[in-house]
Amino acid sequence: MGKTMIQKIIQRASGKEAQVGDRVWCNIDLSTARDFGGPNCVLQFDEVTDKAKVWDPDKIAFTFDLQAPAHAEKVANNQKIIRDFAKRQGISKVFDVNWGIGQHVLLEHGLVKPGDVILGTDSHMNLLGGVGAFASGVGNTDIVASWINGTLWFRVPETMKITTTGSFGKGVCMRDYLTFLVGKLGADGMFFKAVEFYGETIEKSSLADRITLCSMVTEMSGKVGLIMPNGEVLDWLVKRAGKEVLDRIEAMKADADAIYSDDLHFDVSNLEPMASCPDAPDNVKTVREAAGAHIDQVHIGSCSNGRFEDIAAAFEVLKAAGFQVSDSVRTIITPTTREVMKQCAEAGFIQKFLEAGVVFTNPTCSLCTAEHYGVLPGGDVGVSTTNRNFIGKVGKGSHTYLVSPMTAMASAVKGVLTDPRDILK
């Protein structure tokens, strides 16, 4: 019987025939933790092992992104706990507060290959499925277990196949497609499943778009979304992670007779800009339907939509509007990584954003928590390209619309929720 990608990945990592429903122990290629969750891992590891040595310091990495740089003494002390542990354990892969969002930094450093099994204390670790890796967000106990033995248990999931055709119209992008999917399939529409994305729309999409798509699998309670690198994405990845990438792609691609639990097809040609309305990601409407809604703040960034292509798309909207955002909203742009920020500087974007009245920040997760800048007061409404909008997520009693970078910038320009096609004429 043929196997899906996740079955092949788990088979490689476990040395076991991976049939759906099996529980298997996988060898871990990279076990990571962030400034959030990381300190908990370190303290728990030292407690349960009596400060033993980790299984392999070269396969552990730390990233500082949730609250970087530290904004409070408690956070600063937490970050120090990680730095001290890394030094003591001989862990050299420490990406401190100057790097940006963890998964993206790991990817840019060539630490992620198709078929890798990667752990992290971030529920959106699985965005690395955008280059064919099985990355999984886990709690601190799972990370600690992996640091002891280098292995972790998984249930081999069913796989859903989604084929996408057509090209996006003006003002519409992968984020809108993803929002459409969340609305269509629901908050548990991919429950515990792996998802393989195919079709011409995916094959010609950028790395940024693939990351957007795979990051939001979490919002449908999926395990991981997988896309096998091709074209320019493959070239980019080989340059970063080496030629082994090519062998992995051959070994990990799904068999022609693989068994899928679902086989869905969508065409994006007539898709419109979409919004997850308050207060749930699956409360989806077209931006047209929700247009005109009062807003107080706009944020473009996050692990889902803060790469150069995302910021460039927002820039085009700002340019078409004459480089001025509305005085009635606070507009914040947060690049995903330092590399992305440099690209923005080189392209001349940052100068223009600043002149337009935008707050352009250092690379960080920023508005995924109420414990960093941009917090919303009760009753305020935000527009954001982050990935969750449950009530009060970024400030008690606040509400958020989740949209694409283009819709976010169009809304920043007009001061109310706005369809970007009204500006990109």
């Binding site: 967000g137 886990v138 709690g139 248990w153 548990d188 309670s221 009530i391």
Partner: protein, 175 residues
């Protein structure tokens, strides 16, 4: 596995209860599980006083996809530390499920619970009797009966050890 019947009050929640509603990101910097209980459900509209008013032995009752969202294990620690003996839900989001198992914290999958909550067949304040071992659940207030399935396979073994780290230690001792 605990076979005796537990009795306590129901605290009822909807479908898709996100981890920010269980344990808000505002308190992520906390590293001591014992201090996490006080923040339970602080951001859940209408349940802000849960941490103060819930008594050890009370039950958390929810619909589908409980614990969706973040990877934070805080969302398991806080309920465990508060003395909530088991979470009853129609289904659990995958990371929450892992985190519960890895801590030896019981969860029961209760078929039909989402609809039952929507139809008012189990409500806030109802007295419940729960047998974690058999999965029998009785709403004493209105007489409604439910059945919960415990975890199976490897998860059952991990639960029996008391959690993942304890399981690994027991496995290592066997070698």
């Amino acid at each position: 596995m605990e076979q005796s019947v537990l009795r306590g009050k129901a605290w009822v929640f909807t479908d898709d209860v996100d981890t920010d509603l269980i344990y808000h990101n505002k308190y992520l910097a906390e590293t001591d599980p014992k201090k996490m209980a006080q923040f339970s459900f602080e951001y859940y509209p209408g349940k802000e006083k849960f941490a103060k008013e819930a008594k050890p032995g009370d039950f958390v009752v929810a619909g589908r996809n409980f614990g969706c969202g973040s990877s934070r294990e805080h969302a398991v620690y806080c309920l465990k530390e508060l003395g909530i003996p088991v979470v009853l839900a129609e289904s659990f989001a995958r990371i929450y499920y892992r985190n519960a198992i890895n801590n030896g914290y019981p969860v029961l999958f209760v078929n039909g619970l989402s609809e039952a909550i929507k139809e008012g067949k189990i409500q806030d304040g109802d007295e419940l009797e729960v047998n974690i071992g058999t999965g029998e659940i009785k709403d004493v207030t209105n007489g409604n009966l439910f059945h919960g399935d415990a975890v199976t396979d490897l998860e059952k073994d991990i639960m029996a050890s008391g959690g993942l780290i304890e399981y690994l230690k027991a496995q290592a001792a066997k070698k």
